[in-house]
Amino acid sequence: MTAVATPAPPVGGPRPVPWAKLAWVTWRQHRVALAGVAVLLGGLGLYLLIMRVRIHGAYLAVASCHPAGSAACEVTGRPFSSYYHTAQDMTAILQVIPVLVGVFVGAPLAARELETGTFRFAWTQGCGRLRWAVAKLVLLAIAVTAAAGAFSLLFSWYYQPFFAERFDGVLAPQLFALRGVDFAAWTLAAFAIGAVAGVLIKRTVPAIVASLAIWTGLALATALFLRKHYQASLLTRGSPGYSNPPWVFGQWYTGPNGAPVGQQTIRNVVAHAPESVQNSTNPNAVTAYLTAHHYTQWSTYHPESRFWHFQFIEGGWLLVLSLALLAATIWLVRRRAA
């Protein structure tokens, strides 16, 4: 047997495998997951499209009805109200779409290779595991983020009549994360959480379960505790009103001495009010009575105008978090001892 004369590799190593070839690999291996995303978002998108067309007539009827608030207009507005209830159900369902899309594409990316042992094939090919990981993570991250972004544009358009009729404020917690840049950012975050969990846990199903739990915890913590602190809230006497619905998240009363008082005290005061006040259909009558007795209502809120500011803050930190997690995934793939 003769020794093989292998030419020494050129300085800097051989010319790397082109990204286009790795794009094909990514497509071939993840096309089922991507098709699932397309069917899910496409199906929901088609539904939104059809509903939006049907809502349009009901919305025009409401918008053109004068005088608003009359009994006749209340009857005219019934179909629109019924569409609104459907829209609220839809809103609830859509909360889980980012995590479904992100995690089901992200978590199996590395976990399935590690679980089935095929990483020993994939990571010993000529392209190298670094290029392999970068190609897959970047391409799939772009794909799911773009799909989610397009879907949330459609949703914004679908929901626009309800905003126009002041049924909801744009900062409302159940709507905020479905619009603007937030929906895409939460999808990207779910993908990144899934990807890093896949490398760490090394098994597909446990990685999916863990990512679902982590993402849900993060989303709840953000909606309940974090988001209202993006900017100092505004404080107003009374209620900020509903003509341009702001996001009100704190309301309390102060008594005659300026100290906060409990709800029970207010109920007691109102209970002593004359019948004419208690039975009044005008809510301002009670407020006026309380003010006359030196009880003041206070509200903390964010005005609607802060929508894009908040969107970019939340989208920004989610983007930074996602990029950090994706970088961690690549680092873990590189150094992972097989």
């Binding site: 003769t2 093989v4 590799p9 051989p14 495998v17 071939r28 090919q125 392209c127």
Partner: protein, 304 residues
């Protein structure tokens, strides 16, 4: 050029060392049998050589000084892992397409010709191929990359005798065709005895024997004689292993060739590879590490 060169190489998983202080140099152009009992560190050594894992201690280089796992190394080394992991849900044709796109060098004609010869249908799903066909497909994918070094981890363990024979015939054909260097591991020496011309014996995480098979066989003899005289012989000759059977003792000794006369009262005979390996496995303290390992340390200039 050495296709694999290690100096003081060690790998620890959590608390235990899978491979410890391994020094060896495998010259190019050989079919190397990496033999040892289960858990001896064979897979660890191969994973270190193909860059799947990083050493805890020491260093390893491949193909004349290239660091494993770097683009230059990956480009020229094809690895078939144990049980030949492939994507079971892909068709054979897609598996070829995938591997082509994961590599810079690819010989589609060679791959297709080999599969046609083996009668492996291109449209069948990988998961529906037999074990032997999957192993052959993995080998085909590896060879189509035109590697300088082919590394096979336990390639025969899950195959039936006929598939084993066919698989080894394929490997030997590739060796004859383009002179690829081959390293294969097995815990069954008999699988490799006929084809390997270089032997590395690993036991308990350490390299116990390394060298060309012809040199190893020429450098050992089996002596048979009276058991009570075994101690005297051991004082004069380098005895690897003593096997006593009643009044008779069999001694595996290191020698300078058959020309050396046997001690009086002893009968000398050449040793077979299997006997030699078994003798060393029974004596974990004994080692036969000829020149190359020492040279590796000097060449690399890195203290172990």
């Amino acid at each position: 050029m050495n296709v694999i060169e290690a100096a003081g190489l060690g790998k620890r998983y959590r608390r235990s060392w899978a491979l410890r202080d391994a020094s060896l140099a495998v010259p190019a152009g050989h079919v190397v049998a990496l033999v040892g009992p289960n858990g001896a560190g064979k897979t660890t050594l191969l994973h270190l050589a193909v860059g799947l894992t990083a050493p805890t201690a020491g260093r390893v280089t491949v193909l004349g000084g290239v660091v494993p796992g770097t683009p230059a190394a990956l480009d020229q080394i094809a690895f078939v892992a144990q049980d030949a992991p492939l994507y079971r849900n892909l068709s054979v044709a897609d598996m070829l397409h995938l591997t082509r796109n994961l590599n810079r060098r690819w010989d589609q004609r060679r791959a297709e010709a080999r599969l046609a010869e083996l009668a492996i249908p291109l449209r069948r799903k990988v998961g529906r191929l037999s074990g032997g066909q999957q192993a052959q497909l993995a080998l085909t994918l590896a060879l189509a990359r035109r590697p300088a070094l082919l590394v096979l981890d336990e390639p025969l363990s899950s195959l039936d005798p006929l598939a084993r024979h066919d698989f080894m015939a394929s490997v030997m054909a590739a060796v004859a065709e383009d002179g690829v260097s081959v390293v294969l591991s097995s815990h069954v020496l008999a699988d490799l005895e006929r084809v390997a011309d270089y032997l590395i014996l690993l036991s308990a995480g350490q390299v116990q024997v390394a060298g060309e098979v012809d040199d190893l066989l020429a450098g050992h003899r089996m002596l048979a004689g009276p058991a009570e005289a075994a101690g005297d012989v051991a004082e004069r000759l380098a005895v690897v292993h003593v096997h006593r059977a009643g009044a008779l003792a069999h001694l595996l000794v290191r020698s300078n060739g058959a020309a050396e006369p046997a001690p009086s009262g002893w009968e000398s005979s050449p040793v077979g590879l299997e006997e030699l390996v078994l003798a060393y496995l029974r004596e974990p303290g004994a080692g036969a590490l000829p020149g190359p390992s020492a040279r590796a340390t000097q060449d690399s200039g890195v203290p172990a």
